[in-house]
């Protein structure tokens, strides 16, 4: 509604991407235009997901900073609290957050169902909904397969990333 009234950002993404059929941007211009068109959906998803992640990180930092033994030890050695915060507490508090972000990358794609329908963007979520409403089973199977593949891939990569960040986790043991 804000977009409709102020006319800063488009609400129909597909329409915005090709200027209503007038232009066919290619290369860099296409991606810049894409970025501009995707601003509102990104803002929406950010606002929706922000609170929970912020809460998670905050709780972790408080826990690590105030009550973990290495933080107390560092403080006892007289290391400035700023350094304790960034070098020890923050780094360790980031670990569960990375898990969450990884799961987000895997599962936030399901938020795209709503975003794509609202902003009329013909993506894979919109395609699944279309397949479901038209009872097009082969189409639905293909989109489900793609979603499943994507989720598996992201979770797979996440395992490696986690092992890289946390030295306590070893691969292949």
């Amino acid at each position: 509604m804000l977009a409709d009234q102020a006319r800063i950002f488009p609400i129909n993404l597909a329409f915005a991407l090709n200027c209503g059929g007038v232009c066919h941007p290619t290369g860099l211009e296409y991606y810049l235009r894409y970025l501009w068109a995707a601003t509102l959906p990104i803002i929406v998803l950010t606002i929706l997901g922000f609170g929970h992640r912020q809460q998670l990180l905050r709780n972790n930092i408080i826990e690590e900073y105030n009550s973990s033994s290495y933080a107390i030890y560092a403080r006892a050695r007289g290391i400035p609290s700023r350094q304790i915060f960034y070098k020890h507490a923050f780094r360790n508090a980031l670990l569960p957050w990375v898990t969450q972000v990884g799961l987000d990358v895997a599962f936030l794609i399901y938020g795209l169902f709503f975003v794509e329908v609202i902003f009329q963007f013909p993506g894979i979520g919109y395609a699944s909904v279309l397949a479901a409403t038209t009872l097009d089973i082969p189409f639905l199977i293909s989109t489900t397969f793609l979603f499943g593949l994507y989720t598996l891939l992201v979770l797979f990569v996440l395992d490696f990333v986690y092992a890289m960040l946390d030295p306590r986790i070893r691969l292949g043991e």
Partner: protein, 531 residues
């Protein structure tokens, strides 16, 4: 440690009271839905056009942009008169023959020039058919007009739509020709909105010096407008077919697309009704049978929550939507809780291989992408017609897919309770597993379970609304999701983005979530203090 004191301690908290009040408010709406919703399904075309489409709610008049919008105006105003099943309905007519009153001799004797009582033989009620009878006798060679009309004051912006209709059956027409107009009269003049005439009257009207060509065009175009004797004639004027109105042919200054805007552009007294024009040649006798005249201006404000793009009552949609949302929410959560608590108890209490197997099942279900699974299953079960009712199908799907989270929480509770000394004491004393689960473990997880219900219900309500919003949930029935989905295509700047729909549904979902959250948190905190 009675349950009564627990309830008391929960109800002493202000957040619990607020949460409970919100929940009860929506539960009350859902329970009373058949009583407080005027239309059981506002998406049925029968429920369309209770007022103009996209009308804001009536209370929006307190805001300046909406202050001069017209409400629904229906004439006659009382329902019994509208149905025309009571003889006194006749008295609602006002009768006038302004030009030639002396030449008309009414069948009832009375002083010349003075209008007779309306309920007399001049216009009377026919108890056998429930219709009005109009009797006119006289001797004249000049046309005799008889006006029957209703009066009302109109002090609003012009409306978008109105209609006027009447059924007329000429029984006796002797020595005269007959034309019947429906008209709207304001201070500027009389606007004929419908006209039926027999052949003699058509010839007469077409020979009028000023308007003849207009009537000629009208009768040439509208071949349906011939008055048939001895049969019922449906005379109707409706703005969606305003090109057929005679005023468009007679008065070239009226834009056929803006008839109601032109007619009701003035504020003040209006007359709407029927003009019976008798064109006699000597002695004449006219007897007409007719139903009561119906007239409605479709209001541009309506009811508690206005109307949608079909002119259907949004309050009805909201109420039926609330009923469905809460029904699905509580139904699905009942299934979820039943399965989830049972499996959680089993997994936590027995441990070992059972625990491992069930934990694998829970983790599998939790990691499975929920929405796409829901969409797939929904589509498959819809195609196979496995479940007769879409609402039931969604309830079952949401119920059977959502128990994993509940199970995990219950299981972890049971695991910690199992090591408590009183449980171990009961085991040593030889109590059966069933007894321990029932009177020790279940009793101490009750608070968590109740709190879980309150957390789960809004989630399920939102899931259902999401499915409906995507168009793969319940169709052809007003639900919150469907209302939001329609909004997507219908909200524009010109109708204020339909704020009366978006705000009512959006705020309801938020309020319901907050209410359940407050109540659930209060229960959980009180319970942990309690035990």
């Amino acid at each position: 440690m009675s349950s009564l004191s627990f309830v008391k301690s929960v109800l002493r908290r202000r957040d619990a009271i607020v949460g409970l009040a919100i929940i009860l408010f929506f539960a009350l709406i859902a329970l009373l839905a058949p009583l407080i919703a005027p239309f059981s399904n506002a998406y049925n075309p029968k429920a369309y056009f209770v007022a103009s489409p996209d009308s804001p709610p009536a209370w929006a008049r307190i805001f300046p942009p909406y202050s001069s919008l017209p409400p629904n105006i229906v004439l006659p105003p009382t329902p019994s008169y509208q149905l025309f099943k009571v003889p006194s309905a006749i008295q609602y007519w006002q009768v006038l023959d302004p030009v030639n009153s002396p030449v008309i001799k009414y069948s009832q004797s009375g002083p010349v020039g003075v209008l007779p009582p309306i309920s007399g033989a001049f216009v009377s009620y026919d108890p056998t058919s429930g219709s009005e009878l109009v009797n006119l006798t006289g001797d004249s060679t000049t046309p005799v007009p008889l006006y029957l009309y209703h009066e009302f004051g109109y002090n609003y912006q012009p409306p978008d739509y109105f209609y006027a209709q009447l059924l007329v059956k000429p029984i006796t027409v002797q020595g005269a020709s007959l034309a019947i107009f429906l008209f709207v009269q304001n201070e500027k003049g009389v606007y004929p909105v419908a006209l039926f005439a027999d052949s003699g009257a058509q010839t007469y009207l077409e020979s009028l010096p000023n308007l003849g060509s207009g009537y000629l065009n009208y009768f040439a175009t509208n071949t349906q407008s011939t008055l048939n004797k001895g049969a019922w004639n449906f005379i109707s004027a409706i703005t969606t077919a305003s090109a057929y109105m005679p005023l468009v042919y007679l008065n070239k200054s009226v834009n056929p697309l803006l008839v109601s805007q032109t007619l009701f552009s003035e504020k003040g007294e209006y007359k709407v009704g029927e003009l019976i024009l008798v064109i006699p040649h000597g002695k004449y006798t006219i007897a007409l049978q007719q139903t009561d005249f119906k007239f409605q201006i479709f209001g541009k404000i309506y009811g508690l929550l206005g109307t949608d793009a079909n002119g259907a009552d949004v309050w009805s949609e909201f109420v039926t939507g609330t009923r469905l949302a809460l029904g699905i929410g509580f139904g699905a959560s009942a299934i979820t809780m039943a399965i989830g608590v049972l499996l959680g108890l089993v997994a936590g209490f027995f441990g070992g291989f059972v625990d491992s197997a069930l934990i694998f099942l829970f983790d599998f279900l939790l990691l499975l992408p929920g929405l796409i699974l829901l969409i797939d299953l929904d589509t498959i079960f819809t195609i196979t017609h496995a479940v007769p009712n879409k609402a039931l199908l969604i309830t079952l799907l949401l119920g059977f897919l959502g128990f994993a989270g509940v199970s995990r929480i219950v299981r972890s509770q049971v695991l910690s309770l199992k090591t408590r000394t009183y449980v171990q004491a009961a085991q040593v004393m030889g109590a059966s597993n069933f007894y321990i689960v029932r009177s020790h473990i279940l009793k101490h997880t009750a608070g968590t379970i109740i709190a879980l219900v309150t957390y789960i219900v809004p989630g399920l309500v939102i899931a259902d609304a999401g499915l409906d919003f995507l168009g793969i949930g319940i169709i052809n029935t007003p639900t919150w999701g469907n209302m939001l989905n329609n909004l997507l295509n219908q909200a524009t700047a010109s109708n204020g983005y339909l704020w009366w729909i978006s705000l009512s549904v959006g705020l309801s979902i938020i309020a319901l979530s907050v209410g359940f959250y407050l109540f659930g948190t209060a229960i959980q905190e009180e319970f942990s203090r309690f035990s």
